[in-house]
Symmetry: C2
Subunit: 336 residues, 2 copies
């Protein structure tokens, strides 16, 4: 049985293996600091498809294929696949994964989806409900931009706090019996609403959720930040990362030495004109499933926290004047 | 540990109690055959709010409040809440549940959401990851109609195969230690795509998924339809129900004697002009969480299968000419 620690952290009864993972990304990401770390990159952001939405589905499908290839497994060997994305009704996941014929549980956590799908996959694997589960997510700059903001051809100006949606996908294979890295503990996020309403400042909307989840994890486990060689957030970007550090400092927690953010790692702020950094489910999805899992496998990282954050809004809710609630799910992962 | 039966059915290690549940609905539903069965109905479909989206959120929040009241519990007594809906980025769930401050896992299964959220909640409860979980969903005729079809004021003609989105919500409390009814087995759905493209014929798009899941459940468990006093589908409606019976008959399975469909139960086809029946996450959500759970608690039903079906499409995917893939998740539930 999984064990509850403190008020809301869950410890797996046995560490769950992230047996393999794969991250794929688009052209702009291939030119960034992590360009050589992805399992595959595409210079054609349409991936030869007819629509941006089909291209995003193709990213998910490619990430899963690469993950299966690395693990030398077939789709039939996976008992359940958990996936979600930013598009309305999560169509990237449906159309990207439908031909695999694997039992499917659609997840919606906005940009927290990579952590959410790994969390639920780990718990289902730990429980015996499944032996192996796949956790998948994606985003695409072009499909997100026209859905959430403006038509690409409009060429709208971006505010300094705006982030750049990553074209990329990640897929991770959770296995009850594989080798490390291992998912050990999980803290499921609560919806935090500090009444931020600026849809061009997602970092500010998500930082309070990341702080809430981290504080609950440290409170529940009695651990301190110094125990970890990396505390990795999803896509808080420049504005949200600074806010997270400030919110935690107010509570007496100092994580600046080991904190990094996928949204700040994936692009070069000097060269790539992405304002506050990268964002989108595919940001932490592609970075975690390629670069981070590889560093864990190679023992360059040993003990990390991965907290992906999501902004739970839609263009409709923003147009109706609603706030932007945030959420953040946390995974404690060790290399062995 | 949960046990896998056959290729893809999961048996909970201990039957998980549906300790309480509550279903709420709108005016049209209150005038239907189940009008007196809901825990609460609203004559004002805006529920005093300013937008249809806020009204839908209020339905979710009302269903959860009633469920908690019946169980004599506070929000703090619930370890995790799983919810989803039809609106873009599942905003009904976010805004309806954010003030509860319960750890939250957004789910996306279109109209299969009630079965999906109960399935995952049951598995998380069974695993020890949580002691109590809430499963929630909703739909609203007015928010769905304008998002998926046409502005209400347009007064478009409906085709005979079209279904009427239910204004309603359901909330169910899964508890490791309560009394019956109990969730015993779960078959997670696979995405089925028979290349249906008519967005006004969701029943046809979803029936193959229901058939696939039922065939896998019967194949895995060796059970036969005659063992069950009810096989309840979510919202296949008239067209989809007939197709499901036909698809199963071809495989030698006869379920017509014990099959019912929430979409056909909730409205009176003679009086209420709903064409092929009710639909939407709130259709099976409100019917299951009020009428069906009550019948199980009162021992009027003993051994049932609940299979909610979903059509995994968006207006964008339909406009781009994509097909409408379907999914169906199954729960085997007993009264004691």
């Amino acid at each position: 049985m999984a064990k509850r620690i403190g008020s809301s952290t869950i410890q797996c009864s046995n560490p769950i293996s992230i047996r393999e993972a794969a991250g794929v990304a688009g052209q702009k990401e291939s030119q960034g600091p992590l360009g050589s770390c992805f399992d595959k990159t595409y210079q054609d952001d349409l991936l030869g498809r007819e629509t941006w939405e089909q291209a995003e589905s193709a990213l998910q499908s490619a990430a899963v294929s690469l993950m299966l290839e690395k693990a030398a497994l077939q789709p039939d060997d996976i008992d359940v696949i958990l996936a979600g994305d930013l598009l309305n009704q999560c169509i990237s996941s449906t159309f990207g994964l439908k031909d695999l014929h694997i039992p499917f549980l659609g997840q919606y956590g906005a940009c927290s989806t990579m952590a959410q799908t790994i969390a639920v996959s780990s718990l289902l694997t730990d429980s015996g409900a499944v032996n192996r589960a796949a956790a998948v997510t994606s985003s695409h700059f072009c499909s997100a931009e026209r859905q959430f903001r403006l038509p690409l051809a409009y060429g709208g100006q971006r505010t300094p706090s705006a982030q750049w949606t990553v074209t990329g996908a990640g897929a991770a294979l959770l296995d009850r019996s594989g080798c490390g890295p291992f998912v050990r503990e999980i803290t499921i996020g609560r919806i935090n609403d500090l009444h931020i309403t600026d849809a061009n400042n997602m970092g500010a909307a998500m930082a309070p959720a990341a702080a809430d989840t981290l504080l609950r994890f440290f409170g529940d486990t009695g651990e301190s930040p110094a125990h970890f060689d990396l505390i990795l957030t999803g896509d808080l970007g420049k504005v949200g990362s600074a806010l997270l550090l400030e919110l935690l400092q107010r509570e007496g927690l100092e994580i600046s030495a080991m904190h990094r953010d996928c949204g700040l790692m994936i692009f070069d702020p000097e060269r790539q004109d992405v304002h506050a950094g990268g964002s989108g489910c595919g940001c932490s999805g592609s970075v975690f499933c390629s670069h981070i899992v590889r560093q864990l496998k190679q023992q360059q990282l040993h003990n990390i926290l991965f907290i992906a954050t999501g902004a739970l809004m839609s263009p409709t809710s923003s147009q109706q004047g609603e706030s932007i609630p945030g959420i953040a799910h946390l995974l404690h992962i060790t290399s062995s």
